[in-house]
Amino acid sequence: MFRIDFNKLRFLVCDDNPHMRRILRTLLHSFGAREVYEAEDGATALEMYSHYVPDIVITDWAMPIFDGLELAQMIRQPESKGNPYAPIIMLTGHSEKRRVTVARDAGVTEFLAKPISAKGLYQRILNVVASPRPFIKTKTYFGPDRRRNTNSAYMGPERRVGEKHEVMQQPSLLDKARSSI
């Protein structure tokens, strides 16, 4: 079985709602995290992202002026001096298909719909820690591979071409461990 050493992880939480920040802080500290930095808007979060270099970003979507979507887009700049690869978990009240697609296309790693639960948050963190996806860079996208599954029956348009070589999954630690048991 696997345990996450939360005390070695650095989190950046961005939410304009102080109650939700308090809940997130409580949950993360209960998991064992010690370093939890908080921002109440996207601009502050971006500054803190550069300064503290968090391992995982958890952000709301709807915030005034500079929202969570823009924050994700700013982090996912392949040429930036900062780390463009950090996992981004979007925690939001938005749950419509269109919104999920937009968040995915902005480079969000995981999507968690409110209301928040300890189990849901833990599962998303476990996903980004244990099963990171390769990054894809195209003319219009830079972020985690949006193909979570290979669907041989897929009939729609392809966003990218490259034959079978393009499916290169980074090995999942959980899968490796399971196969070794």
Partner: protein
């Protein structure tokens, strides 16, 4: 935790894209343990959340008050961008938080209000009662301290408001297929 250096990152180029792989920079935080040594972080977090629950009533009252203030601003200045955005955010926060705070019916009503704000083609033409009924219902649920939410009144109220709002949105968006599809589409995201 330091990120991987550039030499650890492998880039494979294809005609339309690059695939970038790197050793998992977070692998060091994942430890294999015996089952007997496995703790229960989720249970611990749920307990901690329960410890916060004494504050939820006050928090919910603050959120409901913010919604009332936002709508009062709309009534005063109309649906300017700032007023509209603040009304949406106030309702959206209740949609996201109220179930956690123990007011699930308030969350459903707030979601309905969000949909009206987001999908009505002209907010100035939305009957004022549609807004006020949503906001009054949330206020009533909060001020009655979950009494309305713990019995069927709250869920019946939220169900009816949602029905009225959906019928209105379906009517006013009948010539706007993109919005109509969004109005009629169910959520696709699981909560957990």
């Amino acid at each position: 935790m330091a990120k991987n250096s550039a030499r650890d990152i492998e880039v494979k180029a294809f005609p339309t894209h690059h695939v970038i792989t790197q050793p998992n920079p977070l692998r060091k935080v994942l430890r294999r343990v015996e089952e007997k040594d496995m703790d229960d972080p989720v249970g611990r977090a749920e307990q901690a959340l329960a410890g916060l629950s004494g504050e939820f009533k006050d928090w919910m009252a603050i959120e409901a008050g913010r919604l009332v203030t936002a709508y009062a601003a709309v009534q005063k200045v109309g649906f300017t961008k700032d007023a509209r955005d603040e009304l949406f955010r106030a309702a959206h926060d209740i949609k996201g938080d109220a179930a956690t705070f123990g007011y699930p019916s308030a969350a459903v009503i707030a979601e309905s209000l969000c949909r009206v704000v987001e999908h009505a083609p002209d907010l100035a033409k939305v009957p004022a009662e549609l807004f006020s009924h949503h906001i009054n219902a949330i206020q009533a649920i909060v001020s009655e301290n979950t009494k309305l939410d713990s019995i069927s009144v709250g869920s019946e109220l939220s169900r009816r408001l949602r029905k009225v709002a959906d019928e209105y949105l379906a009517h006013v968006n009948r010539d706007r297929p993109e919005h109509l599809e969004a109005v009629l589409a169910p959520s696709i995201v699981p909560g957990e």
